[in-house]
Symmetry: C2
Subunit: 171 residues, 2 copies
């Protein structure tokens, strides 16, 4: 489902939480990490937050969604997050999409898609495979410009920084 | 690749580490968790171990492979585990197969396959998709009887326990 198919009220609610996921992504940006953020919501309350810290923490498990799922599981006292919604600024990778299915999260709301590596519809859709014991309802494109502009700006800045460093080392 | 295609020497080496993964799985068994174990090897040294603790720790991230990857990343000081081999007693799920690809582990050695939910050849093969930026070399069937017998025994025992509890509550 795309955001165009939602009622204004539903969309506003999703935008509210996606903004919180963007706030998380900006924390990654400040650490020079690819800006990706995530929140998990249960009964209107944010019970898990996360942002990309893969390079900072030097671990594969430093993705935004993994951190948020870890925190939400702790809050719920359960590995099943059955009545939760997860908001991610970028389409999840194979590990994070897999973790979402394993946690049995029913609702996944995505900002911008990731055509090169995304596993919620781009390369493959792990969130909705009949062969698994859980399928998610997926909404794509909520605040997609904000989410993708943040990434474009990040990579542009990264290229400038790299160029500046290169020029500096040549002088 | 199946274990039948390996030289005796290679197979013996893989069996040595698979036995260590089985030792991990037995720790899960003792906790009444589905017995699945994992080790990660770098230059002949085990640098990460893990066993299923999903119910005990009440977290989706309690799978054997996730714990082992976390520990191996810590040892290596890097989210990339590029020269490592991972040994798992059971074919990984979508989350763990995804984590293996994200960690760029080149070699994956599997004990028994999981036809109902495995993502290294059964339902799908996430470890070897041309669309991703990493593909793994996979060996299947190393000590498969030991690995699958352990699971069969576990589920048989679980059913007996459940039956006994039911009969007790009826008396």
């Amino acid at each position: 489902m795309n955001e165009e198919n939602l009622s204004k009220e539903e969309l506003n609610l999703h935008k509210k939480y996606m903004r919180q996921a963007i706030t998380q992504a900006k924390k990654a940006y400040k650490l020079d990490e690819v800006p990706i953020g995530c929140v998990i919501v249960y009964e209107g309350k944010v019970i898990g937050r996360g942002y990309n810290r893969r390079n900072t923490d030097k671990t594969t498990l430093g993705h935004a969604e993994i951190t948020a799922i870890k925190k939400a599981s702790k809050y719920m006292g359960d590995w099943r997050l059955e009545d939760c919604s997860i908001y991610v600024t970028l389409e999840p990778c194979q590990m994070c999409a897999g973790a979402i299915v394993q946690a049995r999260i029913p609702n996944v709301i995505i900002g911008s898609m990731n055509p090169k590596a995304g596993c919620a519809g781009s390369i493959i859709n792990l969130l909705n495979m009949a062969e698994f014991n859980h399928q998610c309802k997926v909404i794509r494109g909520v605040l997609k410009e904000d989410c993708s502009n943040m990434l474009t700006e990040f990579f542009k800045e990264l290229r400038s920084k790299k160029k500046a460093r290169k020029e500096e080392s040549c002088n």
